[in-house]
Amino acid sequence: MKLYEYEAKQLFSLYNIPVPEFGLARTPEDAKNIAQKLGGKAVLKAQVLVAGRGKAGGIKFAESPQEAYELAKKLLGMEIKGEKVNSLLVSRAVDIERELYLSIVVDRSVGAASILSSSEGGIDIEELAAKSPEKIVKVYVDPLVGLKAHHVRRIVESMGLFDEQKKVLQDITLNLYKLFVELDCELAEINPLAVDKEGKLVPVDAKVIIDDNALFRRKEFAERASAELSEFEAEAKKHGFSYVELDGDIGIIGNGAGLTMATMDVVKLYGGRPANFLDIGGGARADIVEKAASLLLKHPNVKVLFVNVLGGITRCDEVAKGLVNALATYGKGKRLVVRLMGTNEEEGKRILSSAGISAFDSMEDAAKKAVELAKVM
């Protein structure tokens, strides 16, 4: 789960990583008041989760509280890459002399946290990694041992800092690691970590991603995550489906994430456009299948529903029953293509055929059919 910048900065403060003074504005008045408190000048930053808000005009500098008000009026409600701006972080502007980079990430390749640092911050780290990998210092931390002084030294020594700044960076690194571990982060990033005109180290931006699987340990975030789902996403979540919305017209239901993805891929391969990804998981009963199918049949974009089930723990007869029921209620104007194989396949196909639905044996053939149907509807 991605946190907003202001949430990340609140966590930074909690972990003694000093961030520039800020407030959160949900109205232009808020922005004006916060700017006033900060002494007039302020930077306004749109709080969105998508990347690249700077280039999209989501960051503005105000010279006065009044200008903060005017800018906030423009920023609030605007859309950045499809995401609506509901709040602004209004912060003391920093006089940046240099920009550094510091992040901690779960490194899938090595199965450990890795700390990335660079004396060239502010830019996209992937870009830097591709262009000048030698400018990035990467330190792996053994998960059983944790962060040791020698790790921190390697990071601190690589930045070209004075002794006093080194001490500060050391503390920032230790605290960021503590935050990273204690809050089950996938990523904790400071980019840029600015050195201001007075030589102080100031985290200007902050990015934190928390492991979804650990949200049970952080209830406050879990609630926020639920609140932000679309109607369809919320309902899918309620039933325990994995659900991702796409922009096509063929609804996809599969059992198992890999199979469902492969189903999407095959649909696309034959020229169709998936409307979503919905994985009912293993062992779904008729009522669950009915709910999944109903959800997609109700979706305005879905013309054809393509169900691909390979029965293992999941029983084909249960799937068939659920589909028939869903179709009876929500099937008007929609088409259903089913591929069934595995446990109780015969019985499943019988149930479908009594409802006038024929089932395919091969997912490729079924996909072709679904694409064909979607094109003519």
Binding site: R108, G258, A262
Partner: protein, 293 residues
């Protein structure tokens, strides 16, 4: 010989009294797997489908010293403890079915198990099957048949899909391993390639990858580096997945510009691995590689 599990695999089921644990204990017994013991703290003395239940893996191992493999069905909040318990009790292969385990927990126990020389399959996986010898997992046994293809897969049902096709084609599987859909798994594709390399029964390997991470790229790099002797065929799910969204599996996400299907497919192709565009095509490529049909 097969890899990871075989005729000499003796299984303890951790979380045997739960719904899943009990159901799959039955299914494993029906398949012929040697399930000797189950563990559920506080339920020692009961039995599940004739399998005696103990309070701890330690107790189970004391009574059944031949136990060498564990399969874990306990809920995610307790799974990590179950792993340490199994490792400390001397279990050699641990199959971790449980999903939704926090990644900071799995980083630790995976590291620990690796240092202790214990193989962890999973988390978030369907398990391992060596057809005709042992099934330590939740896969439908009937789609598999004894044969010559080793499968390592990040996905469950997709494995069954491909295995079924391989079975129908008469090639069969030496061992099929669902390594798990999490970002970090105990066994990875390179581990499996290494094991299949040493296994006489395995004549070809199928890798089933998906978006997220760079496990496929690293496998490709390994295949190239060691001039892998056996033919390898791959399938990668998620060509149409949008960036930044988790596709069901915790590990299936294109993030920070990395982990998309195209990069994986390119990496495989660059090292001579044939990549199928549909699951069905895997068999065609396998036959080509093995010069059959």
């Amino acid at each position: 010989m097969a890899v990871l599990v075989n005729k000499n695999t003796y299984v303890v089921v951790q979380g045997i009294t739960g719904r899943e644990g009990s159901f799959h204990t039955k299914a494993m017994l029906d398949y012929g797997t040697k399930v000797l013991a189950g563990v559920t703290p506080g339920k020692g003395g009961q039995n599940v489908h004739g399998v005696p239940v103990y309070d701890s893996v330690y107790d189970a191992v004391s009574k059944h010293p031949e136990l060498n493999t564990s399969i874990i069905f306990v809920p995610s909040a307790f799974a990590s403890d179950a792993i340490y318990e199994a490792v400390d009790a001397g279990i050699e292969v641990v199959v971790l079915i449980t999903e939704h385990i926090p990644i900071h927990d799995s980083m630790k126990f995976i590291r620990y198990a690796r240092l202790r020389g214990v193989c962890i399959v999973g988390p978030n996986c369907p398990g391992v099957i060596s057809p005709g010898e042992s099934k330590v997992g939740i896969m439908p046994g009937h789609v598999f048949s004894k044969g010559k293809v080793g499968i390592a897969s990040r996905s469950g049902t997709l494995t069954y899909e491909v295995a079924h096709a391989i079975t129908k084609a008469g090639l069969g599987q030496s061992t099929a391993v669902g390594i798990g859909g999490d970002p970090i798994t105990g066994m990875n594709m390179i581990d499996m390639l290494e094991m299949f390399r040493e296994d006489d029964e395995t004549k070809a390997v199928v890798l089933i990858g998906e978006i997220g991470g760079d496990m496929e790229e690293r496998a490709a790099e390994y295949i190239k580096r060691c001039s892998y002797e056996k033919p390898v065929v791959a399938f990668v799910a998620g060509r149409t997945a949008p960036p930044g969204k988790r596709m069901g599996h915790a590990g299936a996400i294109i993030s920070m510009g990395a982990g998309d299907a195209e990069s994986k497919i390119r990496a495989f192709e660059a090292c001579g691995v044939k990549v199928a565009s549909t699951p069905a095509e895997v068999v065609k490529l396998l036959k080509g590689a093995l010069r059959i049909g």
